[in-house]
Chain length 189, copies 6
Amino acid sequence: MWVYEKKLLYPVEVKECNPKLARYIAEQYGGADGELAAALRYMNQRYTVPDKVIGVLNDIATEEFSHLEMLATMIYKLTKDATPEQLEEAGLGAHYVNHGHALFYENAAGVPFTTTYFQAKGDPIADLYEDIAAEEKARATYQWIIDISDDAWINDSLKFLRERENVHSLRFREAVEVLKEERDRKKIF
Amino acid sequence: MWVYEKKLLYPVEVKECNPKLARYIAEQYGGADGELAAALRYMNQRYTVPDKVIGVLNDIATEEFSHLEMLATMIYKLTKDATPEQLEEAGLGAHYVNHGHALFYENAAGVPFTTTYFQAKGDPIADLYEDIAAEEKARATYQWIIDISDDAWINDSLKFLRERENVHSLRFREAVEVLKEERDRKKIF
Amino acid sequence: MWVYEKKLLYPVEVKECNPKLARYIAEQYGGADGELAAALRYMNQRYTVPDKVIGVLNDIATEEFSHLEMLATMIYKLTKDATPEQLEEAGLGAHYVNHGHALFYENAAGVPFTTTYFQAKGDPIADLYEDIAAEEKARATYQWIIDISDDAWINDSLKFLRERENVHSLRFREAVEVLKEERDRKKIF
Amino acid sequence: MWVYEKKLLYPVEVKECNPKLARYIAEQYGGADGELAAALRYMNQRYTVPDKVIGVLNDIATEEFSHLEMLATMIYKLTKDATPEQLEEAGLGAHYVNHGHALFYENAAGVPFTTTYFQAKGDPIADLYEDIAAEEKARATYQWIIDISDDAWINDSLKFLRERENVHSLRFREAVEVLKEERDRKKIF
Amino acid sequence: MWVYEKKLLYPVEVKECNPKLARYIAEQYGGADGELAAALRYMNQRYTVPDKVIGVLNDIATEEFSHLEMLATMIYKLTKDATPEQLEEAGLGAHYVNHGHALFYENAAGVPFTTTYFQAKGDPIADLYEDIAAEEKARATYQWIIDISDDAWINDSLKFLRERENVHSLRFREAVEVLKEERDRKKIF
Amino acid sequence: MWVYEKKLLYPVEVKECNPKLARYIAEQYGGADGELAAALRYMNQRYTVPDKVIGVLNDIATEEFSHLEMLATMIYKLTKDATPEQLEEAGLGAHYVNHGHALFYENAAGVPFTTTYFQAKGDPIADLYEDIAAEEKARATYQWIIDISDDAWINDSLKFLRERENVHSLRFREAVEVLKEERDRKKIF
């Protein structure tokens, strides 16, 4: 079970209304390689991976939910004071007529989130490569958002999140090597 | 942020392998009115509802994630010892060739989860009616699963979960009345 | 069965070409909480609701189809004289290369309509709360379109349609109370 | 606008509970080439086809809605007295836990309806070939259902509906020839 | 089996960076009536059509894959030198944060490709009308892209592709007549 | 461009009608980790990967298309002589009423194929990990099908295909190491 603590994992500073940037950040909120996809992927896989990997998946899943909350906070703060006209100029007119000022799990193009974006195969090696790929893809998305962003404060948070993906990728790569080694050892005897 | 505690919100007793029942429980794991839809819906709406409703949404969202974990535990335990042939007899042959023994966020017919199942409008009254409807629909789903289930132990957990939906529905109905009253009071002055 | 009458339920006045507004109105034509979703939802639910609610669902379903026709007429008239360049400026370039000047059941972001937007549970209370939520969400959508619209004539039609959603919401709320009362009466005896 | 008349376009005789057949009929209720797809396709295309084809589209759209109602009546009557166990045996267990005894716009495999099944191009020749193809595909679907059905009474209704698709196909093929002739005549002068 | 030859079916000349046009061409790369849909449709249908039509489907499927490659080449060349800002101005900001400079099978609005766009019925007449419609719809899409394009060199390639669709449509219309004739001959004897 | 050669890459022996097995093989024809997903993924990524990886992607994409043809041949031969009743017993009743004896790009549960199953990030490392994961997932799927299959002849072909995924995975892992080495070398100077 989870317990909610009323604080963010890492502080989010939003200095000014910037709905255009909010739209791009939505890619990591409800897009193919975003934090929602990551959190749900690991939370679901943990039932059928080998015991020694369960902890890694559990930790990272919980962390990704907290990342998701950071992104939601950014999006909310970047858009809350925007007028409908400002949302429209930022390419969020279609979002506004559907959701008003609310957030939604959709990518930057407005395509709703689907779990077809990720996978669980019940094969530990396949699942861990899926997870490494997920982290590398998330890292790339953060990079593309940073590239297109003009807000230094938000970029600071995004760089923190991008760096976490690198750490996770490394942990999954270590895990896959441990499992392979074990598998090979079994084959020998 | 969330903190994980290594225990279930409410104990889940699985006495025997029963993949057919697992398939039906998947409706609440990855289906239209399941716990995943509920948790994500409230977690997302909480940014734009009036302050006095944020706490309710936050509490229920966190609880629904813990319900989701209970369902995952049930599905896992009901299927982990099943042979491919037993999964096939239970109507899970298609699931097996795609996911092996892993779980996945899809409904009982194997349709992947999508966030088009729910909504956030940025209008407090509309969002709360969406939430009441969500709880009533979840209650109905639990009822249909209990109807078709032949496992008394699992039914005990499902009845607990169904009852929680009733409680949530009541809380949302109270919240909507509070907001309406407030809205009407504002109109008068 | 239905019979077509060659007139609109309520007149639609379009004074000038305005493809940008047409794009937003599409949210109610083919979006999550639009008239198509509403009409199909009630038309489908009516088979399994209690007898005394069938008439309400039938009437409102039929009315929503006529609302859908009003929206189609608006969209058509607001776009028919637009050049490809004007459509492009209005954010309808992607629509144009796919559909030319034709209409399509997609939301303002161009996401195709799907029936995962709504539900039928075969439980009368759940279905009616689904319907109340639907009307409140449609009301909100009309509000957001009116907010972003700059066309007083179209807004007049949109306000008429928004008002109808309020009336429907009220009728569904009355129906749910009648059913609850009846259910409670049964429990007593 | 449409007016509802409380009768079926063509009588539907259901002699006995047969949920398995209901499941197959759902293919024409909420499937890719079913009556819902047909009705919505023509209703939407009629705004941008040449004047002389509007009437055909309008008539057929209205008729398809009445066909849809016939199918709904069949599905309802074939399933209303089935127990959850009987639904399960008929392959409708997944449907039951999601929708109870309610109907839903999904195909025989339980995949929800989407408007990506059809198209409107704003090009009269392309749209009419789309419509001919639609009718031929619907005819084929009826044939496959009749092949697999063991209910002579239902087959009578299905054959009536299949025959109507042939008539519609013919009307669309005539319309496309008229338009081509006109187009060629214009090219000459 | 297929063998790759390292050349394009027809040369593609790209004179300058033009991401906006690339976005529209994406409609034929990953949209409802594009070359991917066409190639997959015919490649899949060829197993169950009458022998004398297999060759046509096979030839056209292979050709459409080569058309797809032409489109990919255009999109790549039109965007490869664009900065993130230029992509953003062209309406490709959402694409950039998801895919960087990579291509993807989605339509001009960013909606991912799905095989619900096409069909295979296992009925030769229905399948061939589906194919004629496909070609006519593809022809229309090319026309809409040419209308909105301002690049004479690209338009030359697009006109070549549009013309091929006409040729394919004719071949499918001939094939359907051959099959109908045969069917009628069988009915007589 | 591609040239079709009228032979299979590797012979496919089908000894008897076995529609149930055909249904499972469909997972690799139109499912999340199947040959279609693989072929399209590599064919699309090759435009933006570093030059030295283009050849690998091109070769494997072309090979996967030929694998797809092998699977289509299996599915066709395993079902072509099945009666509607036999298809129904094999869980293909829903497929039959939609597609008759035709094949379709859908998974074993009947869910249509979508390109949301895969990704292209325009970041070489991320794309190659996506590809390694793809091959490992495909390998797992072949394993699950072999586990559930009772046909030794088909299993021979499936084992050949599974082995090819291992080879591809290895090639992608080598490619990722080459790129990382190069990246690190650049960082040093």
